[in-house]
């Protein structure tokens, strides 16, 4: 089971690094928003993988809160995006 955590952790770490790189590089705001969403999903997958390996359910409310509120940031940014943005 530790091996599973190691393999999954490596893959999730790659995904997190890729989304952070996309947040840094941009080039537009929407790319950064999408990358931040992917970062949140990676975090959810990591918390869930940890719970699966540890046979624990303590973090499930955290997953529920992330599932509920992860959308707020990207929706508000996408809703109030200025029309002519300098790229």
């Amino acid at each position: 089971m530790n091996l599973v955590l190691l393999i999954t952790g490596g893959m999730l770490a790659f995904a997190a690094a890729a989304s952070v790189a996309r947040i840094v590089r941009g080039p537009t705001t929407l790319d950064r928003v999408v990358a931040a969403d992917v970062l949140t999903a990676t975090l959810m997958c990591w918390l869930g993988a940890w719970m699966v390996v540890e046979r624990s359910t303590t973090l499930m409310p955290v997953l529920l809160a992330l599932a509920l509120f992860a959308m707020v940031g990207s929706v508000s940014v996408a809703r109030f995006l200025p029309r002519d943005e300098d790229e």
């Binding site: 989304s19 929407l30 359910t57």
Partner: protein, 129 residues
């Protein structure tokens, strides 16, 4: 009987491991897509994989690992809310990308909304932006 329960116990363990690794692979696909795809809409498409499929796989693995009714209820609640909220977020981001023209129009295969907008220019209620 005990052998059957044992078999299903082992099966559940193996399935949980496979599902967790599947979620990791989804995340890797999203990371590669974020790095390699050329414009926002395609990155949005790649990024939606771990948000839905990864979370479903993780929650299923959790239920297989701790098979009880409260865990099943909580995991279904997580999956349901994820499936409610993430498409809304993706749709809003795609809409913003379309309306602010920050996507690569040459990469689109079909643009039904653009055709509708072009058609409606002769419509009496159409207002130009």
């Amino acid at each position: 009987m005990a052998a059957v329960v044992d078999f299903f116990g082992h099966f559940a363990q193996v399935a949980a491991v496979v599902l967790v690794i599947l979620a990791g692979l989804m995340s890797v696909a999203a990371g590669v897509g974020l790095l390699r795809f050329p414009d926002s809409l395609q990155r949005l498409h790649a990024g939606a994989k771990p948000q839905i499929l990864g979370v479903i796989a993780i929650c299923t693995a959790l239920v297989l690992r701790r098979p009880s009714l409260p865990v099943l209820a909580f995991a279904s609640l997580i999956v349901i809310f994820q499936m409610l909220t993430q498409p809304i977020a993706a749709q809003m981001v795609g809409r913003a990308a379309y309306r602010t023209d920050i996507y690569d129009r040459s990469l689109l295969v079909v643009d039904e909304l653009g055709e509708e907008i072009d058609d409606s220019e002769h419509h009496p209620h159409h207002r130009r932006p």
